[in-house]
Symmetry: C2
Subunit: 422 residues, 2 copies
């Protein structure tokens, strides 16, 4: 690489950032990829880490290993704290990094709708650490219930509330029901894990609003048959250590999981740019920042629209399409080629799983549900995992769990043992 090659800096290595880096692999560019973490997290399967079916390392892979053969890319594990757009520099906790082109792909995090204090009692699911925290919380609740003689406290410990009826909420509720009804059924002596209460709260009128109504109905029925108490039209008004208050009364619960909303990362503040209500940066039709054609914002931290003006959804295929588009666009500009195609999002479809042997798939006119949906979901997810090793390991774990009803990663780590609470 010539020292004078244009410097492309990519911040964030989710689906968008990684795809942008890969699209630059043949460009005469000096690509620097920066992330706070050393790993790319395959978020669509993160709920399986949170519910002890997979290990963190099954769904998170070292970024520098993914890019090891792309010799024009350097990976740095640093935290970005700001952008000096005037002097074209990214500020990190280690210093400053100059760029000619900048791609910001820093994603989104949970939104507690102005109640950030709820984060302490109702964790969301975005990172590996969130997943192990939720796993710990679920498994510890059963352990504490077995250790206490107080039956009121047992009931509270065995109540699990999931806030938000989108794909993550549905997947978590289904998986926790599987844990209680099947995985742990024979493992306790004093409590019956099958008596656990799993409550799924959704403020809107139906689950999975992105899906067609018939699939929403199917999901609701399937979850109800698995023992999940589904409550649509129910808003959470407050969360505390003992449970949640909702528009339809209080629920005493030890475990509350937040799957209700997201807010964009701090990109808009770094840039001093205009943002929408969810904090997403308003971008041009080529995903560049207005007035700064060398800065691109992609993925969950960008406000992008398609078709009749609907927002591009915050899902992996959308981020990948944006990453690929921007990477190719920068490569073309470096090569001196004119390319003025705007970004066009192509919605492939939606998938969600509902525990063992059931999933819903909506790909245009193709609607699948039940076992056939689950097979489609499984094959699609295995296919998108990176590398043969992980495809094999994840497939083996699913196959084994399917046969045995077990879950291989039921580990409680980094915690204090339970203490008497009352």
């Amino acid at each position: 690489m010539a020292a004078s090659a244009p410097k492309v800096v990519i911040v964030g290595t989710g689906f968008g950032g990684l795809e942008a880096a890969k699209a630059l692999r043949r460009a005469a560019a000096d690509v620097t990829v920066i992330d706070r973490h050393n790993h790319h997290c395959f978020q669509p399967l993160l709920y399986q880490v949170a519910t002890a079916a997979l290990s963190p390392a099954d769904v998170a892979w070292p970024i520098r290993h993914i890019l090891r053969d792309q010799t024009n890319a350097t990976v740095l594990m640093e935290e970005v704290v700001g952008v000096d757009a005037e002097h074209r520099r990214v500020r990190t906790t280690m210093g400053e990094i100059a760029y000619d082109y900048l791609v910001l792909a820093t994603g989104a995090t949970h939104s507690y709708f102005g109640h950030d204090e709820w984060a302490a009692v109702a964790p969301g699911l975005k990172r590996i650490e969130d997943a192990t925290r939720i796993r710990r919380s679920i498994l510890i609740a059963f352990e504490r219930a077995e250790a206490t003689a107080d039956i009121v406290e047992q009931g509270r410990l065995l109540t699990f509330v999931i806030v938000g009826g989108g794909a993550t909420g549905v997947e978590l509720a289904g998986a926790i029901a599987d844990i209680a009804r099947q995985t742990l059924a024979a493992d306790f002596r004093r409590i019956d894990p099958r008596a656990a209460r799993i409550v799924l709260l959704e403020a809107g009128p139906r689950l999975l609003p992105a899906f067609p109504p018939d699939l929403s109905d199917y999901v609701r029925t399937t979850l109800a048959n698995a023992g999940v108490d589904v409550r649509t039209g129910t808003m959470v008004t407050s969360c505390d250590k003992g449970g949640v208050d909702t528009s339809a009364g209080r629920i005493e619960a030890d475990t509350v999981i937040w799957a209700a909303g997201v807010v964009a990362s701090a990109t808009a503040q770094w840039l001093g740019a205009a943002a929408d209500r969810a904090g997403r940066v308003k971008v041009e039709s080529d995903l560049s920042l207005p007035g700064r054609p060398e800065i691109f914002v992609i993925g969950d931290t960008a406000a992008v629209f398609y078709g009749d003006g609907r927002p591009v959804p915050g899902i992996a295929p959308a981020a990948k399409q944006m990453g690929k588009y921007v990477g190719q666009r920068i490569a073309a500009r470096i090569a001196g080629q004119a390319d003025d195609r705007p970004f066009r999002y192509r919605h492939l479809g939606d998938l969600a799983t509902i525990g063992r042997r059931a999933a819903v798939v909506s790909f245009g006119r193709l609607h699948l549900k039940g076992f056939i949906g689950w097979v489609f979901w499984s094959v699609a997810h295995i296919y998108f995992l990176i590398g043969l090793r992980y495809r094999f390991l994840v497939a083996f774990n699913w196959f084994w769990d399917y046969l045995t009803f077990q879950r291989g990663a039921r580990l409680i780590t980094e915690t204090e043992p339970p203490r008497k609470t009352g």
Copy 2:
């Protein structure tokens, strides 16, 4: 189980405690197994978690799952804080638990020879959390070296010191050499991971003192060929954030791992019992506490001797033999059978691996080394894993790593990104 069945309480679920519980499976006893963690940790492979070859869940399995079919056993995740031997009660953070027979199998932890402050900079390797901490420390050192332009600091970051030349120290040194020379070799752009310096310090005259001298020599040569700087006869006199001081001078290092000594758990204090220098409880020939025939102390927290008065080593087979003996003895007493055989330790042999394709095995007159030793070591460890699932997953990971030189669990979690230090 009749309510009047004798109560057997087992504290600790390492190899000893678990084996004691299993030996009681047909006894007319009410067995309660207590541990601070929800999992049994397969310590012989913990160094592979610390060096990113296996995931925590590959070597740690839920205790209650292992004992799920043993209906006379109840598993409680609680922390024991004392024993009231007079009233036959165990005190935990949740309350008190009565016993008729008590088995204390609480193991050992690292000993810093009176310098507990070194623990903060030189972690040891006993629990899952220790392993993920060491993994993080090793991987972060390479990341920080890539991110800094200061070549002195790079040298310090890429120096790894392992204190103690027993099996754990040798295994860690070999594995870190593999990571630096092979796994990471092509993953960085600014540093050459192969330039990493791995120093193995041993105060005594040779590595692996439990093995025959010819195998010690072989291990030393093999490690030296892998690029490990082996220094026998070298004592650590001080540890700090910047490195270690030794009897032969200072070594600047970012990562220092402690594999030099162990001290028994607090069992002797709980009992007010006589202990040896390492804190191990002095027991009768049947492993019971002098004057308390209903209390047994086993595994690394007991001082037991064999043959010509040598101490029983702190290895898994020894703990398992003690656990089985005590479980059977209690079962016999409950059944009203006389059984006065004293405990007799049978030393099967010693094994240690030295990274890829090399291990040493000493089983009586059978001495194996090199590739054939490594095959023997691998088969033996796979065999002793619990359950087909884990045997398969560990074997697959080893096979894959063997073919590709990769390591599947290179995750840095629960950490802050690097910050500028100087």
